[in-house]
């Protein structure tokens, strides 16, 4: 299958510290790809480099074999950061409406997200008054309203309780089934195993494995292993 996005040799330094080391992998169309790794492994930095929000020291990103310069990235992908507090004084309804209008989405597209993300009781609230989990649900709605072929979500389950996590996983899978590609950065390995079709394992800024769980089980010679065991075996 041809890749939607190919990442080749991304390296990033913060001063003298190398936080991404020759990162290469590919993203296939329509899949849910998990970028997994412990805190500090470079997941967010990689996402920001891919989105063109942070310059990489080296490496290229290709879309269908054509190089994708940083200025063109927003046409191909949308990155939803974790732990942001955008437009704290505005209501949830207004922020959703702003995204819907600027991306020319229908009102039905927006209202279809209200129930699964349980936003109806939050619509009149200000962003600044929301809890961490509520804010995460609103941000997910913003991400799902964007039209780019690839949506990158940084820690989409962070701050959600068990039931909300399960609901969001169902929503994301349904979203991917419409043909959109999702790339999720997840530090909870069990969550990653439940929602992702393929995984990219990142450790200390390096890719230590890429493939479906069965591919990785074969590679690690652990046929019954879960994501945690595979990750431990590869790092």
């Amino acid at each position: 299958m041809s890749a939607l996005l190919t990442v080749e040799g991304i390296t990033k330094y913060f001063n003298q510290r190398r936080v991404l080391d020759d990162v290469s992998f590919s993203v296939r169309p329509g899949e849910v790809l998990g970028l997994i790794g412990p805190n500090g492994s470079g997941k967010t930095t990689l996402f920001e480099c891919l989105a063109g929000l942070m310059p990489a020291n080296s490496g290229v990103i290709k879309s269908n074999t054509k190089e994708l310069p940083p200025a063109k990235r927003k046409e191909a992908l949308f990155y939803l950061p974790d732990a942001i507090f955008p437009w704290a004084e505005q209501t949830v309804r207004w922020v959703l409406d702003f995204f819907r209008k600027i991306y020319e989405r229908s009102e039905q597209d927006a209202s279809a997200l209200v129930e699964p993300l349980r936003l109806d009781e939050l619509m009149k609230a200000r962003i600044g008054s929301l809890s961490k989990g509520e804010r995460k649900r609103v941000l997910l709605a913003l991400g799902l309203l964007t039209p780019q072929p690839l949506l990158m979500l940084d820690e989409p389950f962070d701050g959600l309780d068990l039931r909300q996590t399960r609901d969001v996983m169902t929503l994301l899978k349904a979203h991917a089934s419409t043909g959109r590609t999702l790339m999720l950065s997840i530090h909870q390995l069990i969550d990653a195993g439940r929602v992702c079709d393929r995984l990219v394992l990142l450790s200390a800024g390096r890719v230590v494995g890429e493939g479906s769980i069965s591919d990785l089980q074969i590679r690690t010679r652990l046929p019954e292993a879960g994501v945690e065991e595979i990750f431990l075996a590869l790092t």
């Binding site: 927003k74 942001i84 207004w94 609230a125």
Partner: protein, 443 residues
Amino acid sequence: MRSLKFRQLIAKEWRELLASRAYWLLLLMIGPLVGQAFITAVKLYAEASGSGAGAAALPQALTPLDGVLVPTFGAYDLAATFFLPFVAIRLISAEKQSGALKLMLQLPGSIGAKLAAKGLVLLAGWVVSCVPAFVALALWKSYGGHLHSPETLNLLLGHLLRAMLSIGIAVAAAALAESAASAAIVTLGFTVGTWALDFIAAGRGGLLQQLANYTPTAALRSFEQGLLRLNTIVVILVIVFSTFALAAVWLNTGRTLRHRLLSTLALAAILVVLMFGAVSLRTSWDLTENRRNSFPAADEAALRQIREPLHITVILAPEDPRLTDFEQNVLTKLRRNLSHLEVKYTAGSQTGLFEGSEDHYGEIWYEMRGQKIMDRSTIEQVVLEQIYKLGGINPPAASEEAEFPGYPLAVQPVWAATVFYGVWPVMTILTWWLIRRKVPQPS
């Protein structure tokens, strides 16, 4: 970018502006500031016009521009220096600190379009804050006061450009600085720096004075004198566009530091070139009713016949009131009429008090076609005679131009205190409350 999306950006920025406490504070404060200035100005104007049994000043000296408009609008100079920058900084820094910038950078449209939306909204916000000034003008008219539309509009334009300059500097500072506090320090530092430049460069000539002509205070001064100078407008617009371009360079976090530094250098080079180009624009319009920035029409026609360069050497210290007179009454007008005029300021001391007589202190030298004339007078007609002599031109006959009548008006500022100290603050607080009430507050 399609206009529909730009409209969405404008709507978003307008909501963000209305959510800003700094903006409401600006609105709340501007009413009493304008009111205090207006009431004081009207009372002083009445005194000068002969109220309270005092002697009236010469009616020709009583112009509403100097007596009422400039002091009243002075409140906006204060607001543009101390309030507006914080409103502009908030619109950028809040998005940087909350992470909203990461979303904004990915939305459709260029970063330039997004900054343009912010700039336009800030300018619209400033126009709204000008309502008390319009109320003051209406009150003045209702008292029977005189307004000369061209000079009033010119003053409004000057304050609009002054506000644009403040917005531009604040937006660039907010884009460059890590936090809103740092941006505020940078902006105030810049303002104080321009004050220092204005003070140091006064009456010194050369590049320093050329530069000082475009500080916010100096640029505004020419509008306050009823002069519309093309070079001032162009230079301010060039600076404003440069500050927004600088903000666009530094908000684009996807670029390397090297790229941003090189872009900044390129921008600085373009700015210098454009400014030098703009400085050479000599077109200006005297929009005052009393034509204070112009010689009599016959003299202007005679001066236009002079094609040779005129060099003037002034041996007067910057603090000497004679130099101020000479600048305002003669040099400003000569610069508008002679295409090749060079002025040198050669006094050695700051005050003139300690200049030795051997230094020729107080002399003014005029040189044209190798001929030199010295005179000590700073009176307009005397100076013109010297120039005609050098240029070999017959002085024009004294013309019978209609004399400016002056507009004395001895009235008290009725209702002004109620409007500016009572109605305006109450209306502002009420509007703020009504807007806030639409959005539930956090529990």
